[in-house]
């Protein structure tokens, strides 16, 4: 299959170029674009985690911000109230996100299709309600401020360039982990569930268990993204867990191309830059977001990666 080999060559070349550009970015980018790129990397982790559910397992979650937010709140609370360090916060953020996923998963994966969408939406709103109302812990609408960028041994991540590299390394490690998972027997089973649950069950798969594990895996990496976000933003509020955050993540996945991992990462970058660019001129970001969503569904249902894949045929 020379076509596939050539395409494989293009993919390797593309990823290699991207890696070099990302590693060298601080050399030629001024601080504002670098900040945006940091934000894009964090959202890329978040979008890839959602892709495990949406793209690979076929579960359209409309409440994925819950796990991102739980991770971010865990960091904010521990770092401000208890002066917890880097590793404590990372472990706590991931553990809290997995715990939330473990609690919500059984409720959500009872349902399929639109009902799954509705239940995850409701669970997401539940977390938003907690963030908003549980003032003694979350400081409610005021949010938790005063988060300082962490240090790790001899390194301080206070400097934007240092924090950029922290985000880049976390992104690369997360992406590598997720690529390994989707290429494993377990990853293949998730695609089988997306394609036909009935067939999976009759072949002998415990579909419920596989979905549950996928749910917690997605929550874990959303927690990793939330961890970075809390430090990046220095401030965590109910905005992090609101519906719009979940919808933006869905759009990142759809725009880039679901079920590809690299697509959602690309989509995250595009949405972050679009959002910041547009907000210079107008406050109607949600209107633009909706417009982009409609265009993707109408003209590029497979996203950017889907469109690229179709081209060479």
């Amino acid at each position: 299959m020379p076509g596939a080999a050539r395409r494989g060559g293009w993919v390797v070349a593309g990823l290699g170029t991207a890696a070099v550009l990302l590693a060298a970015a601080p050399l030629f980018l001024s601080s504002y674009p670098l900040t945006l790129l940091t934000q894009a990397l964090i959202y890329a982790i978040f979008a890839m985690s959602l892709d495990i559910l949406l793209g690979y397992t076929g579960l359209p979650s409309l409440g994925h911000a819950a796990y991102f937010g739980v991770g971010a709140y865990a960091v904010a609370i521990l770092a401000t109230e208890f002066r917890a360090g880097f590793w404590t916060c990372l472990v706590a953020a991931v553990a809290a996100a997995i715990l939330a996923g473990a609690l919500f998963g059984p409720l959500a994966i009872r349902a399929v299709g639109t009902y799954f969408l509705m239940i995850t939406l409701a669970l997401g709103m539940l977390v938003w309600g907690l963030a908003f109302r549980w003032v003694s812990v979350t400081k409610g609408d005021n949010g938790i401020s005063g988060l300082e960028r962490p240090t790790l041994g001899p390194w301080s991540f206070a400097d934007p360039t240092a924090f950029y590299f922290l985000s880049l390394v976390t992104f690369v490690v997360s992406a590598a982990c997720l690529v390994v998972v989707v290429r494993s027997p377990f990853g293949m089973s998730l695609m089988g569930i997306r394609e036909s649950e009935a067939r999976m069950r009759s072949l002998g798969y415990n579909v419920w268990l596989h979905k549950y594990l996928a749910f917690m895996l997605a929550a874990a990496f959303a927690g990793v993204a939330g961890f970075l976000w809390a430090y990046y933003n220095g401030f965590v509020s109910p905005v992090e867990v609101q519906l719009v955050t979940s919808v933006e993540a869905l759009l990142m996945v759809a725009l880039g191309g679901s079920g590809t991992l690299v697509g959602p990462a690309l989509g995250a970058g595009l949405i972050v830059f679009l959002k910041n660019f547009v907000s210079v001129y107008t406050k109607r970001w949600l209107l633009i977001l909706g417009g982009v969503y409609i265009c993707v569904i109408l003209f590029a249902p497979g996203g950017i990666i889907g469109a690229l894949k179709r081209r060479p045929r």
Partner: protein
């Protein structure tokens, strides 16, 4: 082979509201038996399969599979006991390749299906198994094809291949020739005749040539009840069967 009875049903029933799709079916299948289940549309044949496979839960009665009472067990546990099925409406993994379809089937009963840190590509025995079964259903040249791009006949062959990949001891075939041309039906019948005689098979089939050619035992279902059960000759000669099914058109 073991002499454990592959399947025994007693008083098996399924009601959808007031409709008794399966009404008190008793059935006892011998090891290695090839039994055809025939009957007019709506007789309850597919519902009976769905009850046996665990896709539906019965309203009453008992299902014993290889000596285990599985009446309330989910389908994946029944598959682990050696049960496999095909679907009347082709149920593949449409956007995956033929080989990926087969790998999913080949790893279904392996412990390694939950492995998440090793690439699937490193499990050589799964690939060997997948390719051997593809070979046996004449799909060896198609492994790179996306399942939904196969012809209908090839999709029906893959449907059977998926069921065979887990080395089942009891196979439920739900109209394997559904939608096939007469020539394709003949090929499918030939393929089914090559299956390991140790596999016990229940087959729902509308094509009488296929059904009577494969089965040593025929059961006729009508309105959810068994109205005849015996050798193909005996069933063909049964006046009641002739009246409600075979003769009238």
């Amino acid at each position: 082979m073991s002499e454990i009875q592959p399947l025994a049903l007693s008083g098996l029933s399924k009601a959808f509201g007031g409709l008794h799709a399966v009404a008190g079916v008793d059935l006892s299948v011998r090891p290695g038996e090839r039994r055809a289940i025939i009957g007019p549309n709506g007789a309850g044949k597919t519902t009976l399969f769905n009850l046996i496979s665990g896709d539906l839960m019965p309203s009453g009665g008992r299902i014993v599979l290889f000596g285990h009472d599985v009446t309330r067990l989910p389908s994946f546990r029944r598959a682990a006991l050696g049960l496999a099925r095909t679907f009347q409406i082709t149920t593949l993994f449409p956007s995956l390749s033929v080989l990926e379809n087969m790998l999913l089937a080949a790893q279904a009963l392996e412990r390694t299906k939950l492995m998440f840190h090793r690439p699937l590509g490193s499990y050589g025995h799964l690939y060997a198994r997948a390719r051997a079964v593809l070979e046996s259903v004449d799909l060896a040249g198609k492994e790179g094809e996306t399942a939904k791009n196969l012809s209908h006949g090839e999709q029906r062959q893959l449907e059977v291949a998926l069921a065979l990949a887990g080395r089942p001891r009891l196979l439920l075939l739900d109209e394997p020739t559904a939608g096939l041309s007469p020539a394709e039906s003949q090929m499918m019948a030939a393929l089914l005749r090559t299956l390991d005689p140790a596999i016990t098979i229940l087959i729902i089939e509308h094509d009488m040539d296929v059904a009577f050619g494969l089965a040593d035992h025929v059961m006729v279902l009508h309105n959810g009840r068994v109205i005849a059960d015996g050798s193909p000759e005996a069933v063909k000669a049964d006046p009641l069967v002739a009246e409600i099914y075979l003769g009238t058109d």
